[in-house]
Amino acid sequence: MEPTSHDFVARARKGLGEDGLQEALARFRTGFSAKRAEAAARLPEFEALRDEAVEIKAHTIDHLDFYLEHFANKVEESGGEVHWCVTPQEARQTVLDICCAANAKTVTKSKSMIGEEIALNPFLEENGIEPVETDLGEYIVQLAGEYPSHIIAPAIHKTKDQVSDLFFERHKEHGATKRLEEVDELVDEARAMLRQRFIAADVGITGANFLVAETGTTAIVTNEGNGDLTQILPRVHIVLATLEKAIPTLEDMSTILRLLARSATGQEFSAYTTLSTGPRRSSDLDGPEQFHVILLDNGRSNILNSEFREALHCIKCGACMNHCPVYGSIGGHAYGWVYPGPIGAVLTPHLVGLEEAHHLPNASTFCGRCEAVCPMRIPLPGLMRRWREREFEARLQLPRHRQSLALWSWFARRPALYRMMSGLARALLSVLGGRKGYIYSLPFGRSWTATRDMPAPEGGSFHSQWRRR
């Protein structure tokens, strides 16, 4: 997909002014995070599991060549095919070739962020193959002509009313006559619309949460059952995965599985964890006749030899965005590419270039919640800070940002003046903050406070606190 991350500032501002989005985000901000906290509290071993998961993943990444080769050999032994693709172009061409060889007309898809990364849907459409998204959230964004705004909840930016309007408009041609108001009716209608698509599909495409080296197994974690209907009904099953999804054994996968759903949605376990190994066996009554795994690099091997290697530990649970105050205010579309939120701010500059994505690492208050909840303990604020340094070195910032920093450093080198000016500013802000301690309208910063409240300083300056120690 074409990134629009360079336009982040304008898109974020637009998001802040969209009523529907703000209504959806108000619900989002408390939903997943509260459930995650409850799920973590219910499992006494949760923190210890995180430590173990980090170790397992670091070990895997250190030996990624070995584990991927073992995985690929096992897939081939079980009758599947592995396609090694360096670029998105290679990956989508491979998918197309497999579809053409199978004379495919329609393809069902279960949610895959790699599918978004390689812009698979428009490519298949251009080549006369109809891709049908089957995850409800993905189905909604596909009908709306949009793209996902969250990696596990693609339509989180939409309200129920918007979905009602959308279904009413788009399901008319399929015989729907009524604008449905309730969630259960909407889900039922989508189920009915998609059922025949599942049955008619020639090829099913899923993503992968894990590639198990021990057995050559791919695993997906879902709740709706669409990922299963996508892979057991059509003749051909294609799995899209990037290299870092490898995991040594089923036991190692189990450790991370215990963290995944709890971190993502606060569920104890997702409804369906499905392990797929090769095509159907000769005596099986159902299942796909062909099994293809597309292993995509698309920049992952470059991340390995950078100071951002830990970003490859990501298991795509979405916890960082669920807990990010910036994501929670502007929504995922502002980030302008596949991965929004803190992990997006770290991955996107790698995958689409710093010039395109240099705003994203600045979209953080460094409050640290993302790192605190990341099951893989990825130091997201630290990694964003490194991008900010690179952005500064590459002189990509807006001139006024550089000028402000230059002004600040001019004062900082004149301590007496700095203390006097900062003391004055602090006193003024405290007065403005009044009893509530929040400033609702900042002189010279009205556009800043239009969508935020500024906390007034309290407890003296850093210098004065430091002196007292």
Binding site: T94, L275, T277
Partner: protein, 227 residues
């Protein structure tokens, strides 16, 4: 596609990224040994209890994710438990059942009103009956595997899925399942599909309101047969 070339290019890029060449033969042997005898990592203490307590926990966890559970004293009670469930939920007595030999242990003929087809599922089927390979008390999860007599479509196409599980098949954590699969098969022990199923199908994609029956079964009913 130039698959062989892609593999070589990616391996080269990975090794460059890792700052080393191919692993030494010794290191490969060590890593292979790690794969050949997988180590059990930390398993939550939750599932580590007496068999009775495990079953209780399994039932509690399964119900917490909106599965329904019935416990019956013996094999002869199973067909009755199925007909009762169908009656309670106003479901037809036409059922599609896995050709699984383990299901032959139950006296279906005693319930002549049940119209049983032994096959994979088709779109018209409303109720399926299968066994499970195991139940994990940790999260109320069932493990089902595909095979010549166990088609996976039964687990997903019909709106109602009834699973018959022996009490002795209920264990603690998922690791017991992997051990069981390794012991059951030899060499390449993985069946085409292993389904870990925890409650019926659901979605929260509209305003995070949980709705059951997104694409898979709306109802999951588990019948536990005491050994």
């Amino acid at each position: 596609m130039n698959t062989g070339d892609g593999r070589a290019r990616i391996m080269g890029a990975l090794r460059q990224g890792l700052g080393r060449g191919e692993l030494s033969a010794e290191r490969k042997v060590e890593l292979k040994a790690r794969l050949d005898s997988p180590k059990t990592n930390l398993v939550p203490a939750r599932g580590n209890k007496s068999q009775d307590a495990r079953i209780t926990l399994f039932v509690e966890m399964a119900k917490a994710v909106q599965a329904s559970v019935t416990r019956v004293p013996g094999v002869t009670d199973v067909p009755g438990a199925v007909t009762d469930y169908l009656a309670e939920n106003n479901l037809p007595s036409d059922i599609v059942m896995a050709p699984d030999e383990n299901l032959d242990a139950y006296p279906w003929a005693e319930r002549p009103l049940l119209n049983i087809r032994r096959d994979k599922a088709s779109d018209a089927d409303q109720v399926s009956v299968t066994t499970a390979e195991m139940g994990f008390s940790e999260t109320g999860t069932l493990m089902l595997t595909s095979g010549a007599t166990r088609p996976s479509t039964l687990n997903f196409l019909p709106e109602n899925h009834i699973v018959i599980l022996r009490a002795g098949q209920i264990t603690g954590g998922y690791e017991e399942g992997w051990r069981h699969l390794r012991e059951r098969g030899d060499g390449d022990f993985m069946p085409r599909t292993v389904n870990l199923i925890t409650g019926p199908s659901r979605t929260g994609d509209i305003e995070q309101t949980i709705q059951l029956g997104a694409h898979g079964p709306r109802r999951l009913h588990i019948i536990i047969v005491e050994d």
